[in-house]
C-alpha cells in the first residue's frame, strides 16, 4: 500500500489506461461485425492515443518550470535621486571581515568599473600577472570564482558603491 501512496499519479494513469483498453475492447466488438472497418478502428486508436500521449506529456513534463534561484538584495537603494545626495560610505565591518587588502580592494573597484585585467594593470602601473594574483586572492576571500560574482557580492556587502 505504500506503493500506492507514493505513486498515486502512476496508479491513476495505469487505471486510466486500463479503462481505455476496455473501452477499445467494446469498440472492437462493435466494429468487428462490419468487415474491413479495421482502418477506422486503427484510426480511432491512433487518434485516441495520440491525444493520450499529448495529455500525458503535458501532465508529466509541464511542471518542468525550473525555479532558478537568484540571490538578490532588496535593501540596496540606488542614489539616483538628487535629493538624497549622500556619498557612499563603505560598510567597514563587512570590509574588515572579508579581509581584503588595499590593493585587492583597488582591483575590485576597477573590476566593478568594467575594466579588463590589462586595463587594470595599466591603470595601476603593475603587470597583468600581479593583477591576476590580486584577483585570485580577492576571489578566495569573497568566496567567488567569477568577476561578475565578485562585483555582485561586493555590492551586496556594500564594500563598493
Amino acid at each position: 500500500m505504500q506503493f500506492l501512496k507514493h505513486n498515486k499519479m502512476l496508479f491513476i494513469y495505469s487505471v486510466a489506461l486500463a479503462l481505455l483498453f476496455l473501452l477499445l475492447k467494446l469498440v472492437e466488438y462493435r466494429l468487428l461485425i462490419i468487415d474491413h472497418s479495421i482502418e477506422i478502428y486503427a484510426g480511432s486508436i491512433a487518434i485516441l492515443f495520440t491525444l493520450l500521449g499529448i495529455w500525458l506529456s503535458r501532465k508529466l513534463f509541464s511542471p518542468k518550470k525550473e525555479t532558478l534561484v537568484i540571490e538578490k538584495e532588496t535593501i540596496v537603494e540606488r542614489e539616483v535621486f538628487v535629493t538624497g545626495q549622500h556619498a557612499f560610505e563603505p560598510n567597514k565591518k563587512a570590509l574588515k571581515e572579508t579581509d581584503l587588502s588595499a590593493r585587492e580592494l583597488e582591483v575590485l573597484q576597477l573590476i566593478a568599473g568594467g575594466m579588463s585585467n590589462q586595463e587594470i594593470a595599466n591603470a595601476m602601473y603593475v603587470s597583468v600577472n600581479t593583477v591576476k594574483t590580486h584577483i585570485a586572492n580577492l576571489f578566495y576571500k569573497l568566496e567567488v570564482s567569477r568577476r561578475t560574482q565578485a562585483v555582485e557580492k561586493a555590492k551586496k556587502l556594500s564594500i563598493i558603491p
Copy 2:
C-alpha cells in the same frame, strides 16, 4: 503550394503521420494472417501513437518553458538612513532606448546574477551559442564589450536592479 510554404511544420507532421499509417498497413497485413492477433495490433498502434503524441506535445509546447526567477532574501547589516526601501522599477524609457529584446534582457539579468554562459544556457533551455549571440547583440546595443561593463551600464540606466 503557398499553404505548404507557410505551414512547413504542419506539412512535415502530416507526412510523418501518413508514413506511420503506411507502416501500420504493412504491419496489419502481416498480422492479419494470424488470427486473433488484433489485440497485439491495437496495442502496437496505441503505444506508437502515444509516443507520437508525447513527441508532438514536447515539440509543440515545450519551448515555452519560463524560467521563474525567485528572489531569495539574504539579510545584510547596513546602516540605512534612507526613507524606506522601495521596489525596483525599471526605467522603461531607457529600456526602450537600448532596444533590448526580451531574451536579451533575460540574459542580461542572469549575467548580472553572476552566471556563466553555460549556466545561463541551462537556465534558459538553449545552447551556449545562442546565449553568446544574445550577449553579442546585447553588448552592441549597450555599446560595451565585457559582461561587467554591461552590468554596470544596465544598473546605471536602471534597466536592472
